[in-house]
Amino acid sequence: MKKRIAVKVNGEEREALVEARRTLLDFLRYDLHLTGTKEGCGDGNCGSCTVLVNGAPVNSCLVFAVEADGREITTIEGLASGGKLHPLQEAFISEGAVQCGFCTPGLILLAKAFLESTPSPTETEVRFAIAGNLCRCTGYDKIVRAILKVAGAQAGRDS
């Protein structure tokens, strides 16, 4: 069974006929060729497939594409604007928060949503905020520093 959906992905209107069983993750990766979103487990336990749906982080492997109908989706490919990296992307590079890079897109998007709701987090708040996203390379230390760095810079701008 197929259903027509209309979504806005990274600011672009997309219409598609998708099978009801198609996950949002597979729709993004295989129908739209946005392979920056990664599949680590397929059952919502690793967070690598995190995208923003109407600004909220979701595991795209747990959402069917048809459920995203009418929503706005941001993937890692949509984060940099005008050739300029998002501050989180810059901080992940400068703080050494990226090793293999497989969990990186999901963590950056999750961190973006988190910092919008919690602009000045403590280290503990950051650690709990990213608890649903697994990273096996870094031990999380440098990821936490990168997120805190952006939070600090935002706080600096706000004050």
Partner: protein, 755 residues
């Protein structure tokens, strides 16, 4: 003061720019026109004879393009059993672990492939299985590989056995050694099967050309090794297989073995179309190569002054259904477990044993962490007996230059004492947490790196930039380290260096990315290519300056006249002549490194502060410090990241991770139930890099990636003892296990209390 300008600095990894924007290509990202999707049918039983395997209905299903079984594997023709460890085990007459491939299907989409699996008919006759390593060693245990005979086992008769490797080492006089001891302790330690836990599942995409040539994209630790696997499996010459470079989403030893590509390649050959095969997470757990479980018994003696006198050790590795990989048999590394200390009398016995569990493989310092857990736990117990500070105890007994390792080679330059003393200084002033279930533990680790042959090419571009081409799979930031070596040697900026990862046909050969030796193996080749290039530059400058090349030398990006250094030609100027200079061709250099370079020991000392909740048994790691001898830190930030990641993995191994089997079937093949550390589980990990230069490797480097996980299990266990007063001899130290110990020692269980 460092003599270097680029080495020792921490520029960001050159591969990460593409990773933060989602552009980096991993194997599952590869999509080819007309591509088929493949799925595997796997044995639901840990040990079962395949009485009937019927694939006709699946083959006839619309959308199914090919179904293969072990009968279709040309490279295996003639082999009855499959103990051959280099080959992926597709079940032949019987399945020997749950998850073993039985058949594979290629179809027009993944859904059709999945549905077609249900149409394959398999009739199994279940056989008795064994998942406990000690039970598998008993004479009446079910035999897993009937053709297997224990190797090296003195006095072993010709009956089949589940023991496939045995080693024994003796030194001194064991009985006399124990007689000299004031305290002798004997304990048995058990560790569980754990997975490397790379977040990227295994994936393979195989294309086929009109000439029948196969092109492979897969997550790997060596593109050349993948080629070997695929060609060997299919009985093809190496030239029929080409393996492309891809980004690898974590590996830690787990991606050396290639379970998918040979089968995906077989399906591509059958169908003439590209085939993609991606494992589910459950398949990754059940059918890749987790690290062996162990049972280790140690008897150790010490004088009241704190000198080790003797050790009697039996190390048993549970290798699952696999008989290892050549050179990677666990005991070869396991028997090194006493090398860090001066012990005049010892006996070390090592066993590798097969069971009906997932076949085992290397994981970040293969075999070492388990053995270290036993040794360093035992040492900690001895220090408590004789009342000596654990750091001081290790300083008293630590190995030094000239001491012999178990394999008979003397240590060269080692930094064990420096590392211990540096940790002592670090801990000085950081008071050990006491009371309220808090405590500190420490442990030391040793991992020895080698090198294997590798090569590197450098092309000089007309604008003075250079392109380095390597064939080494980058799993830890090695492209950045290579770029730093080139920048250092040629005296040019890092942004003038491009590092290209070639494929098996365009890249120079490279050793496998294992053993913490990529920077050493391929980096040495890179350095030598630079030396070769500098000689060429001197000859070229001699032509232009009309002097003898011997009068010139390369110094910081310029060729200078030795007598008059102000007379110089810059590297960029020479590069401009790249094609034009009469008497010289394009500037191009190559270098290679030698196989089996001198063993280079890496020592690491770790200290953990933990809190044990006596009500729940939960262990929280409060803070963690690592002091590691790197020899020279080419990129300290990358090294710090490697160390922090390794410790986090060690924390998982110590506290929460582990395969849970029920009658040979894995019960927790998800990231929910196989509990890897999440961000709140891991504290900030302080890293201190000691640089005691190696005398065996250019720049004095030693290797980084594996050593920092080696002592983590023991450091945590020792800290748990300090914090709670109880000793855990078995991993993982889950809340249940810790609580049981605490209650066992403190009186009535809650059930009795309720009464």
């Amino acid at each position: 003061m460092t003599p270097y300008s680029s080495l020792g600095t921490s520029p960001p990894r050159i591969d990460v720019a593409d990773k933060v924007i989602g552009k980096a290509l991993f194997s599952a990202d590869i999509v080819l026109p007309n591509m088929l999707h493949a799925r595997m049918l796997r044995s639901p039983h840990p040990h079962a004879r395949i009485k009937r395997l019927e694939v006709g209905r699946a083959r006839a299903m619309e959308g199914v393009m090919a179904v293969v079984t072990s009968a279709d594997i040309p490279g295996l023709a003639g082999l009855r059993e499959v103990p051959d460890p280099e080959l992926p085990c597709m079940a032949r007459d019987k399945a020997i672990f749950e998850g073993q491939p039985v058949a594979a299907i290629a179809a027009i989409d993944p859904y059709v492939a999945e549905e077609a699996l249900d149409l394959i008919e398999v009739e199994y006759e279940e056989l008795p299985s064994v998942t406990d390593v000690l039970e598998a060693m008993r004479p009446d245990a079910p035999i897993i590989h009937p053709s297997l005979r224990a190797q090296n086992l003195i006095g072993q008769d010709d009956r089949p056995s589940n023991i496939f490797w045995y080693m024994k080492y003796l030194r001194g006089d064991l009985d006399a050694g124990f007689r000299q001891a004031d305290v002798v302790l004997e304990n048995t330690f058990r560790t569980q099967t754990v997975h490397q836990g790379h977040i990227e599942p295994r994936a393979s995409v195989v294309d086929i050309g009109t000439d029948g040539k196969l092109t492979v994209w897969t997550d790997n630790q060596s593109i050349f090794k993948v080629r070997e696997f695929v060609a060997g499996y299919l009985g093809l010459p190496l030239r029929r297989v080409r393996v492309m470079p891809v980004e690898v989403g974590g590996s830690f030893g787990g991606k050396l073995h290639q379970q998918l590509s040979p089968i995906a390649a077989l399906l591509a050959l059958k169908t003439g179309r590209p085939v993609k095969m991606v494992m589910t997470r459950a398949e990754v757990f059940k059918a890749t190569r987790p690290s062996p479980a162990t049972a280790i018994t140690i008897k150790m003696g010490v004088t009241k002054e704190g000198r080790l006198t003797a050790a009697d050790v039996k190390v048993i590795y549970d290798f699952g259904a696999s008989t290892g990989m050549p050179g990677l048999d666990a005991v070869h590394h396991g028997v090194k477990l006493l090398d860090a200390y001066r012990i005049p009398n010892y006996r070390i016995e090592g066993y590798d044993v097969v069971t009906n569990k997932a076949p085992s493989g290397p994981y970040r310092g293969p075999a070492a962490a388990q053995a270290n857990f036993a040794v360093e736990s035992q040492l900690d117990l001895l220090t408590r007996e004789v009342g000596i500070d654990p750091l001081e105890f290790r300083l008293k007994n630590c190995a030094a230059k000239g001491d012999l390792t178990v394999h008979g080679a003397p240590f060269g330059e080692i930094g064990f004492v420096d590392t211990l003393e540096r940790m002592a200084r670090h801990l000085d002033g950081r008071a050990e947490p006491r009371g309220a279930g808090r405590g500190r533990g420490m442990a030391c680790g040793l991992w020895t790196t080698m090198s294997l042959g590798s090569a590197a090419h450098i092309n000089v571009n007309d604008d003075g930039s250079v392109t380095l081409v390597v064939g080494a799979t980058d799993i830890s930031g090695t492209r950045t380290a290579f770029a730093q070596i080139v920048a250092e040697e040629l005296g040019i900026g890092l942004d003038e260096v491009t590092v290209a990862s070639g494929d098996t046909e365009t890249a120079p050969s490279a050793s496998v990315s294992v053993g913490s030796m990529i920077t050493r193996s391929t980096g040495t080749a890179v350095m030598r290519a630079c030396l070769n290039l500098k000689e060429q530059l001197c000859r070229r400058a001699a032509l232009r300056m009309k002097v003898d090349a011997e009068e010139l030398e390369f110094f910081r990006g310029r060729v200078i006249l030795k007598e008059r250094p102000e007379t110089a030609i810059s590297f960029a100027e020479l590069a401009r002549d790249n094609f034009a200079l009469p008497g010289a061709g394009p500037l191009y250099a190559s270098g290679r490194s030698d196989p089996l370079g001198k063993p280079t020991p890496v020592f690491v000392v770790q200290a953990a502060d933990v809190e044990v909740d006596k009500e729940t048994g939960k262990v929280t790691v409060l803070s963690y410090a690592v002091c590691q001898d790197t020899g020279l830190s080419i990129n300290p930030a990358i090294i710090e990241g490697q160390i922090q990641g390794a410790v986090a993995q060690g924390i998982g191994w110590a506290l929460t991770e582990g395969y849970v089997y029920e009658k040979g079937v894995m019960k927790n093949p998800t990231f929910l139930d196989y509990r890897m550390p999440i961000a709140p589980d891991v504290p900030h990990i302080e890293t201190i890099l000691v640089e005691h230069a190696s005398d065996a490797v250019p720049y004095g480097i030693r290797g980084v990636g594996e050593p920092p996980m080696v002592p983590t299990l023991a450091a945590i266990a020792n800290a748990v003892h300090s914090a709670s007063g109880v000793r855990l001899f078995e991993l993982p130290m889950t809340p249940e296990a810790v609580l049981e110990k605490i209650r066992g020692g403190e009186g009535p269980s809650p059930k009795k209390r309720e009464c």
